[in-house]
Symmetry: D2
Subunit: 320 residues, 4 copies
């Protein structure tokens, strides 16, 4: 084979994530009424949601559970041959998983990151087909824009926490073919954050350091608005819905995304974003942020709020 | 080889285009003072320009010539191995080109589209390195944003004219691996337009029908603003610079891009755009526009201006 | 009295308008579901509506009627003493009216413009008091922003048609104290349009020429979005609600407002706007547009659509 | 006289302010190159500046001085008769001033606020007349938009510090006829802030409490962008020009303006703003903010930065 495998593009994009919540009905109300996602299916303790611009039937699977946190991360791959090749590739490196299925997509191969997050690779999926009430004249859209709540366009990315950022970064970069676009490396050489992309977006998966000793935790996930003005409007909507804004709106140094963070009723951190930059350079040199860089705060000087460095889901239970 | 070749992503992106102009100094003044591009090199009758967000030293090579029109289109590929494989792949299909070099990039393999447009495939390139006057604190940017003229962020796409849209569409789709994202197909089955993408943008290369019998002509090329509000502001700047706006600002049905068209002093059509949508679906089904669809005008009802169907560069010389 | 009367500011603002519609239920559905106005009262054949940012209980009184058109225009004055002074002032100039009341405001003095439009001057009004479901943390707002339909912020202006623009302009300017801000004067000296303001906005009342010989007709009325981006989004919402956009989005030369026109189900023209400029100069010199100016179209070159010069409500019935 | 005097509207608007700077050349470079104001005159140690949308020749008079701070505040009144009436009105209340003139306007009557800020009332002014290089096709604008630096549209407001907020508020409200729109009143009844308006904008003059015992100090002054997106862009420009952003961009609770604060080289605080709301209600009830309200921070939860409560110009010299 003349080319290495996997290559950038073999994992096509972040398809969905399963979010665990101890308050399913409140979380569901939040994501549909305040955020404005659309429900496309229910099964057992799970409700399947998507934004108006998402082409698959599910980008957020909301599952009632004893805790908050990440159920799994779904990555859609380039095609069926690539899925089979990835399974072999992982097996050659000693990583074996299990095949599973779900309500809104076909067979998925479930493996764990070094930190213990479940990742599912799949090819077959179910596309959303618009019902008449949401049909659209914009033929490239899956449905019309429905102005309800914040109404983001699409799922954008996930940020997981990991004790060993480097090991988990290598999992996504070398085993799945994502591109490393930015990273935080402290003066002692320790990787504290890594941003990786399966697309021309500047990141699809972020990994930041979990100081607590816990494993498999979620930092946040993000849906995207069309404009930064939309994020400013979203802040007004959240405030009048009595949703506390953790920090923002402001601009990240990493990714240059315009951000706003809040918490959904189940305790998981949720981000509304816009903007950022696209990477077209196939030989992109990762941006490296030092400790000194990070001490300057966000892009326009806002200091990173302390909860941002500590809060993850599920929360870490303190034992004596 | 388990996978077909080329695949989506093997051509990485539109790198640059060479624009011919019979009024080099006026065109240069337009692209630097009114549009706000930055000059990075000169050689012979050519000036090399780029936007503040372009990572390569050149995205627009402006060349003095007897006529207007397209000199060539530069496509940067995934890596060196891919470049060599593409050359072989083209040769197997009877297409041979010539190796050439230029001031701002390494060896390029020059071939012709069926309609006669020169296309150059290259891997080695020169990245822009910011001089202190345009250095930036935004580490993911090649330079700072400089508010001069319209100041677009980056080159976006090119739209060529072709007598045989289908044949030229197949050239980019099957020989170079671009993804067909949208097309116009008339009731008699004739393809009248094709939009293809090398990236997650909805298109990088557009091909529309040339009714005149001429070959190798350019319809327009496009630089991108960060927001639609920026395009509205650009319209004000153009008007006060006495640049005639051909049509827009308005929203395209194809690509959903927010557009504004004008003519540079050499006579070539130039577009300022923003917005549009990203495609993440690796199995995207092309959007097909019928004659009936097209008769409805643009996205919000604006009728397509007649010059849009006739003007290309170089102009067609009428002979008896 | 040391100062002339009335002075700029004595009429405080356009309070509301009564819109006649032969299709009350369809018009009501349009203004609540598609436009996103809020209902605050009903009485007889009338429904009282307001936008989320309007402080009075009514800015649009929708009244079922045999025809479309304007019921009346309500102008709120500075204070009660000013209202009484205006009544005297009008009487001195031979204009007498009648006192009337309505569901959402106190005594109003109803007079006719020279062209026959009913204008009501009033001081006492009913402020909207937010119910808990629309209560807001933004203490300067009457209620929260509710993202339903287009969701404009507030009523902005009205454009009436008149056979004699000059006479009607003088009515608002000299009898009511509005400021003339812009006007169209043709080469033969005839006034073809006049824009007048009671506020720092560039206009609150516009008068354009009615060629048909009809009297008392309405050209359009306008609600305002917070940003031009909001108008672009509104265009998408209208299209997917199957509402025909007459013209726009584009920028007016007059007022520099960013506009979009459509028709409500009763046949009245409705505008969604944003932007424009504020006038602070107490000695503002009206901008005068000539025939030559007008032939250039709108601000970025869009030709004014022909229906814009002919359609008014009620429609003119053709008789043999 | 049937009406009280002065009434809202008798002071027409904030015309200009004179800013003192110990670093004239650096301050001038900042306001022209980074902020993008235009120079229209020089005299002695003063340079007269204006934004592209300002109709008068001067909205910012920059004067070299031993300290930073406010030289004076210029308020343009409704007309000449009003100016004379205001002088009489002030005299009746025991406030006498002096007549002065300046390079860019006619006779001005200079009085002091209770806290000692110089305020000049004037009627005659010099309008900016565009030279050909900045001529515009937009007939309602004084000149074309020039994209240099941040390029705000116009001067918006000034915020002065005062030991006795109430007394100074009454000066602007009762002696000059401005409208009180918002205020901060602490639990003990002490007024800590007052926002007053001469226009439909929610404020033109703000007064906040000076804890230091100093008098006549300046908190900040503000130029306005057309959109909040413009403020976000301005933040990028400031950062790459090495100008420290004190706080923002964020949204004020008071006025709902979108703000960004920085310091000009002379040490004076400067704000770039956008948005906010207009007041049309002639009987507006001032919004009152309590201590509890203020403890919640700004509109989306950002805590007010501590320097905002202490920094004023000129700085207070500490003596033993």
């Amino acid at each position: 084979m003349p080319f290495s495998f996997p290559r950038f593009g073999d994992v096509a994009h972040v398809g969905h994530l399963e979010l665990l919540t101890p308050k399913l009905s409140e979380s569901l109300a939040f994501f549909t009424s305040v955020i404005g996602l659309h429900e496309s299916a229910r099964k057992g303790d799970s409700v399947y949601l998507r934004a108006w611009g998402d082409y698959e039937r599910c980008t957020l699977k909301l599952t009632g559970h004893t805790t908050s946190g990440l159920g799994h991360l779904g990555l859609r791959v380039r095609d069926d041959a690539t899925l089979q090749a990835l399974v072999s590739h992982l097996a050659e490196r000693g990583i074996t998983g299990t095949w599973t299925e779900d309500e809104t997509h076909g067979p998925a191969y479930r493996v764990l990151t070094p930190d213990g997050h479940a990742v599912e690779l799949y090819w077959e999926t179910q596309r959303f087909v618009a019902t008449p009430d949401v049909a659209t004249a914009f033929k490239s859209q899956p449905q019309r824009y429905v102005p309800r709540g914040i109404a983001p366009r699409r799922l954008d990315h996930i940020n997981i926490l990991a004790h060993d950022v480097r090991g988990n970064r290598e999992f996504f970069q070398h085993l799945l073919g994502l591109r490393l676009t930015e990273q935080i490396v402290f003066d002692n050489g320790q990787e504290m954050g890594a941003w990786l992309s399966a697309t021309n977006k500047s990141y699809d998966v972020a990994i930041t350091h979990d100081k607590t000793g816990a494993s498999g935790r979620l930092h946040h996930f993000t849906y995207m608005m069309d404009s930064r003005e939309d994020v400013l409007r979203a802040a007004d909507v959240l405030r009048d819905a009595d949703v506390q804004i953790e920090t923002g709106p402001h601009k990240h140094n990493v990714g240059q995304t315009f951000f706003l963070y809040c918490f959904e009723p189940g305790g998981n951190r949720f981000e509304i974003g816009a903007g950022g930059y696209l990477i077209f350079d196939p030989d992109w040199k990762p941006v490296v942020w030092s400790e000194a860089d990070r001490s300057k705060g966000q892009a326009w000087g806002l200091q990173t709020v302390s909860s941002f460095h500590t809060h993850g889901t599920p929360p870490v239970v303190q034992t004596k």
